[in-house]
């Protein structure tokens, strides 16, 4: 199985979720994260003291899928998250050796 991590803009969450569901994904897990990258950050000023904030809010969506679905899912996510502006983010794919569904104890492809 593969784990696909999609790091992208916060307001794209709904679009990506819908796209993934469309690609056959049954579940996913989302975290609020902060990203550093080409997009750059912004300045903040508090009582005359300037701070450079390099991190911008992003979301990270983790989804584990059976091997065969991975390509499709990556493509669906890429399209849904795309705006063409710097800061659209990345998709990482990595191997997962085992999956267990806690409720039933099912493992492998049945569990996702």
């Amino acid at each position: 199985m593969k784990k696909i991590e999609i790091i992208t803009r916060t307001f794209k969450l709904d679009d990506v979720k819908t796209a993934l569901a469309g690609a056959g994904v049954k579940g996913m897990t989302v975290a609020e994260v902060k990203g550093f990258g080409r997009q750059g950050g912004h300045k903040e000023v508090y009582r005359g003291a300037e701070y450079q904030v390099d991190f911008v809010p992003k979301i990270k969506i983790d989804v584990v899928v059976e091997d065969g679905l991975a390509g499709q899912v990556v493509e669906a996510a890429r399209k849904a998250a795309h705006t063409g502006q710097v800061g659209d983010g990345k998709i990482f794919v990595s191997p997962v050796e085992e999956v267990v569904r806690i409720r039933t104890g099912e493992t492998g492809d049945d569990a996702v």
């Binding site: 912004h42 903040e44 508090y46 904030v53």
Partner: protein
């Protein structure tokens, strides 16, 4: 001069002052967290800008000697002649300064009210200029018309504490601004969910608390009339909080905390013109109606498609209008409305409603267009994405 009245009105002025930061929190909790400070700022800074303008020019335009029923003269410009005694004071029992500063607090909160309509997308610089012009060109005339000896007051329109001057005027301006500035980026696709409802509840509570100063203080004395206005204010707010949550419950959902807070504010708005003119039991009836009417009012924006972000039209516009008309019907205390046999009062109220909406909408239109063409009012999509706090103020609300 009456020292007890002075004590009362000074404290009432403090209470009304407190309403503006209360409004800031009420509004601030309703926006997304990336816009919380910008939203708060658009209310809070009115305490600065409007107060100074009021001293310089606003007060005299409102309460200077009447010029043709239209506007006040410049007698009191720069607070000239506004002293510690009651010389020249529109309220003989009060130091002129006390009257002036009590009225000042009304001038502060009214433009702040409008800001809910264009929340999350207006640039700060343009907002400041817009608000300054609005005070002078809309608020001051309205205030003069109703309370400063102008034509509406002469005509006999009843507006105890600002149904027209404060709520309809800001509601009409809100409608105009919401249409002109356009929808927030993402409207229709993104969920605009309040980021901090406890903050909104706190804001509503401060509003309710301060509103006692607003309405009871409008008796301009600590007499039985003040007591009546105090009681009607409380009862209308209470009743409207209840009827709003009943409405949303019947409407197929749950009773919500935001509904209770919104209902309370709706009741406070609706009772404002009526507070000193109707009895407590009628205030309960008016409040019950106001909760339902304003619950309907906030649905209008979906039907007509403008993005009145925080429902200024639905609550202040609709609620103020409803209250003004209801005053014409229900007045029995120191004035006579329909139920006291004076059908004419309803007509007078109707005329004042139409004139207020017409004047405020049109004048706001002109001001908005002028400022937009010169300084610019709408934040870009990119600024809205980043959030107004960072893009307009280089700050963020929370670092938890």
């Amino acid at each position: 001069m009456n020292v007890a009245d002075n004590a009362f009105i000074l404290i009432c002025a403090a209470l009304v002052m407190f309403m503006t930061p209360g409004l800031a929190l009420f509004y601030g909790g309703l926006v997304r967290s990336k816009n919380v400070l910008a939203t708060i700022m658009q209310s809070f800074i009115m305490l600065g800008l409007m107060s100074v303008l009021w001293a310089v020019i606003g007060y005299t335009l409102s309460f200077g000697h009447d010029i043709g029923g239209i506007i006040g003269g410049l007698d009191f410009a720069f607070l000239n002649g506004v002293g510690m005694d009651n010389v020249g004071s529109p309220a003989e029992n009060l130091p002129h300064m006390t009257f002036m500063i009590f009225q000042c607090m009304f001038a502060v909160i009214t433009p702040a009210l409008i800001s809910g309509a264009f929340a999350e997308r207006m640039k700060f610089g343009g907002f400041m200029v817009f608000s300054a012009l609005w005070l002078i060109l809309v608020y001051a005339p309205m205030c003069h018309w109703v309370w400063g000896g102008g034509w509406m007051g002469q005509m006999g329109a009843l507006d105890f504490a600002g149904g027209a001057v404060v709520h309809m005027s800001s509601g009409a301006a809100a409608l105009c601004c919401a249409i002109l500035i356009g929808k927030r980026k993402g409207h229709g696709s993104t969920a605009f969910i309040p980021h901090n409802l406890p903050m909104t509840i706190l804001g509503a509570a401060i509003l309710w608390f301060g509103w006692f100063g607003f309405n009871a203080g409008s008796a301009l004395a600590a007499d039985g009339l003040a007591a009546n206005a105090f009681v009607t204010t409380h009862m209308a707010a209470a009743a409207a909080a209840l009827s709003w949550i009943v409405a949303e419950w019947v409407h197929g959902g749950k009773a919500t905390t935001l509904g209770a807070a919104s209902g309370a504010v709706a009741g406070l708005v609706a009772i404002t013109p009526a507070a000193g003119f109707i009895t407590p039991m009628w205030a309960i009836v008016l409040g019950l109606a106001a909760g339902v009417v304003c619950y309907g009012g906030i649905m209008l924006k979906n039907r007509f498609g403008y993005d009145d972000a925080l429902d200024v039209v639905g609550i202040h516009g609709v609620g103020g209008t409803f209250g003004a008309l209801a005053t014409g019907v229900l007045a029995t205390v120191g004035a006579e409305g329909l139920i006291a046999g004076n059908a004419h009062q309803v007509w007078v109220q109707f005329v004042s409603v139409v004139a207020t909406w017409g004047f405020c909408f049109a004048m706001t239109f002109v001001i908005f267009k002028a400022v937009d063409a010169t300084i610019g009012l709408r934040a870009t999509d990119e600024e809205q994405d980043r959030g107004m706090d960072v893009s307009e103020h280089s700050e963020t609300g929370y670092q938890m």
